[in-house]
């Protein structure tokens, strides 16, 4: 059984006068331990798909089964619990709490949901920070850390609850190329050594090339789903010919 099963998922935004079809129809399966890159031009629906997969948003149509459980019919609280236990998020702009130390940021997911005592929580947060190479930065605030370090804190936070899926929304978008490579390396390591399913939304082909599987979206539909990055690249760089523009 696949970890993630999407079946004819659609997402329509009703903006009053117009309806925007962010996802026209998406059907795909993702297995545990896969490393996936979601690519596509702006407005192709990749962020919407990401939010849907991350249980932050609910599709307007279709089924989404995560680990055998139907997400579409879940309540807000149930989805919050799924996000806490099963999913870890890493964002382009890190989204750490300001004026809050690295270790406090990392232990935040442990304060919601699972209840363990404060000592264990702190130990686990410190252990996690050490894993991502920030063993000497426990008590630094985000403003005292470099971009790469902040993203590592965010990764530690995403992983502290041992989720099965790690999601990244342009995780290297705000990093210089060297730091980006380091972060990508970290993702690969986590995927290979800890069996964590990694799903990244990215513009960066260097990031996407690292993934085992690449899913290309265009106009709210999957146009390519392949293990061969050159095919994905072809699909991404496809431009409509004059012929296509003829109705």
């Amino acid at each position: 059984m696949a970890l993630i099963e999407l079946n004819d998922v659609r997402r329509v935004y009703d903006l009053g006068e117009v309806q925007v079809h962010a996802l026209r129809t998406v059907t795909l399966n993702i297995a545990l331990g896969e490393y996936i890159a979601l690519i596509g031009a702006s407005g192709s629906g990749k962020s919407t798909l990401m939010n849907t997969l991350g249980c932050l948003d609910r599709p307007t149509h279709g089924n989404y089964r995560l680990d055998g459980e139907e997400v579409v019919t879940m309540t807000r609280d149930e989805r919050a619990k799924i996000r806490n236990r099963q999913l870890g998020f890493v964002f382009q702009n890190f989204n750490l709490l300001n004026r809050t130390s690295a270790v406090e940021n990392v232990e935040l997911p442990l304060m919601y949901g699972t209840k363990i005592n404060a000592k264990q929580r702190r130990d686990r947060a410190m252990e996690m920070l050490s894993k991502v190479g920030l063993g000497d930065r426990f008590h630094h605030h985000p403003s005292q850390l470099s971009g790469g370090q902040q993203q590592r804190v965010a990764i530690a936070r995403a992983l502290v609850n041992r989720p099965s899926i790690l999601m990244g929304d342009e995780p290297t978008g705000n990093l210089d190329s060297k730091t980006a490579r380091e972060v990508i390396e970290l993702f690969r390591e986590l995927n290979e050594e800890q069996q964590i399913t990694v799903i990244l939304v990215t513009h960066d082909q260097n990031v996407a090339r690292n993934a085992q599987r690449t899913i290309v979206l265009r106009d709210g539909e999957v146009v390519e789903d392949t293990d061969d990055f050159s095919k994905a690249k072809e699909a991404l760089e496809y431009t409509p010919t004059d012929l296509d523009l003829v109705p």
Binding site: F89, L97, R99
Partner: protein, 431 residues
């Protein structure tokens, strides 16, 4: 490959829900992160609670002052006044129907009565000593137990005895005000004063009692045996007294004493069940109760003013909490993305608001107490003679604290609810 940390962590004990302690910890951390916002919120509550505390405690002080003045009139006093009598179908009010024997009987036969004294008044008598003269506010004839009834003590000398009363003795006891007016530096004891050209020997001096609540000087008084006043000053042949002053054994026994006096006098005056009584018993607790209502109304009014300032403080909290929700939209989004449920956010914001209110409440309470001590001090310093009591009541303090917490819940709920209903995606995208 199974992860090494997964194996280790699986040994840790877990329960399902997030504990209140954790929510409190999250809320406190969030407060500490933004001290300025916390301080501004607290100030709003401080002002409200301080106003309530000060106003209520000053109001209660006023209440105690008034009832204290009233108690100075005499402890638990019941006044028996002559009522109407019927003579040949004509009803007269204030007819002389009470006698000294009635007073004696009340003292002897009513168990709830501590002491009883007849009162015989005079009309504007001048008191002369040497070539000084003085019009005392009161020149009264009283019984031997008068001082017990009035809860009054002698500063010097003695009081007249049963013999003095029996023999219409030419003796008197004077209040403090008369000393400077008549005697100046002379010790008044054993000196002779003249009233109505009759010489009276001063045998005692009363302790200072001060002004009563109407402002009359209670020390401007000359007391004599009631028989002396009736016969030697008023020149009345009748054996009647103007009033009987009775004191009950305690405030609780007032009603009982009143009842016993009535029953006894009905019997003595042979008033049948259908007749109208020829006397009336005036219970001063009624007056005290009226005064209580007055001061109660006063406190209520002041409390209303205080309540308004509390609401103002509360709206202040709500404003800052609402601004804070908007300002912290992104934080809320982050928390939701990593698994905070709506109710976790709601609780966090509520607890933040309650904590702020309670801290504000505590500071306000301290400040209010200090302010009321200060005010009391100023009143007593600038208006000599008043002894405004300092009242800091524990119940009022507790109510104020409870109110502070309630303000926190009430005015914090709406912003907290708004925060908890935010959409995580919108909140994360918020700049």
């Amino acid at each position: 490959m199974v992860s090494t940390w997964a194996r280790r962590w699986s040994r840790e004990k877990k329960t399902k829900t997030m504990s209140l302690l954790d929510t409190i910890r999250i809320a406190l951390r969030a407060l500490v992160k933004n001290k300025m916002r916390a301080v501004l919120t607290i100030i709003g509550v401080v002002i409200g609670i301080a106003a309530v505390t000060t106003i209520v405690s000053i109001g209660q002080g006023a209440g105690q002052l008034v009832s204290g003045e009233f108690e100075a009139l005499g402890t638990n006093v019941v006044l028996v006044l002559p009522g109407q009598s019927k003579r040949g179908g004509v009803r007269q009010s204030g007819a002389p129907t009470l006698t000294a024997a009635d007073s004696q009987a009340i003292g002897d036969f009513c168990p709830a009565v501590l002491a009883s004294s007849p009162i015989v008044g005079t009309a504007g008598q001048q008191v002369i000593y040497g070539n000084e003269n003085w019009d005392p506010r009161e020149l009264q004839g009283v019984g031997a137990d008068y001082l017990v009834v009035r809860n009054w003590e002698l500063a010097a000398g003695g009081f007249f005895s049963a013999d003095d009363i029996e023999s219409n003795g030419k003796v008197c006891v004077i209040g403090q005000t008369l000393i400077p007016k008549l005697f100046r530096t002379v010790n008044p004891l054993d000196e002779l004063i003249r009233v109505n050209n009759v010489p009276f020997r001063v045998i005692g001096i009363l302790q200072k009692k001060g002004a009563n609540m109407v402002g009359d000087d209670q020390d401007d008084v000359v007391l004599m045996p009631h028989t002396t006043v009736r016969k030697r000053i008023n020149g009345s042949p009748l054996d009647h007294v103007h009033a009987i002053m009775v004191s009950a054994r305690s405030t609780e026994q007032m009603a009982k004493a009143t009842k016993q006096v009535q029953t006894l006098l009905f019997e003595r005056h042979k008033v049948g069940p259908t007749d109208e009584a020829d006397f009336s018993v005036q219970d001063t607790t009624e007056i005290a109760a009226t005064l209580g209502i007055i001061t109660g109304t006063l406190t209520l009014m002041l409390s209303a003013i205080a309540g308004i300032s509390l609401i103002v403080g509360g709206v202040g909290i709500m404003n800052i909490m609402l601004v804070s929700v908007t300002e912290r939209t992104r934080e809320i989004g982050i928390r939701m993305a990593i698994g905070a449920r709506g109710k976790d956010i709601l609780r966090q914001f509520l607890i933040e608001s309650i904590v702020l209110s309670c801290i504000g409440g505590a500071i306000g309470l301290a400040l209010g107490t200090a302010a009321s001590i200060g005010t009391t001090y100023l009143i007593n310093a600038y208006k000599p003679g008043t002894d405004w009591p300092m009242v800091v009541s524990l119940p009022a303090a507790l109510v104020a604290m409870a109110f502070a917490a309630a303000v926190g819940v009430f005015f914090g709920y709406y912003p907290a609810l708004r925060a908890s209903r935010l959409d995580p995606i919108d909140a994360l995208r918020y700049e």
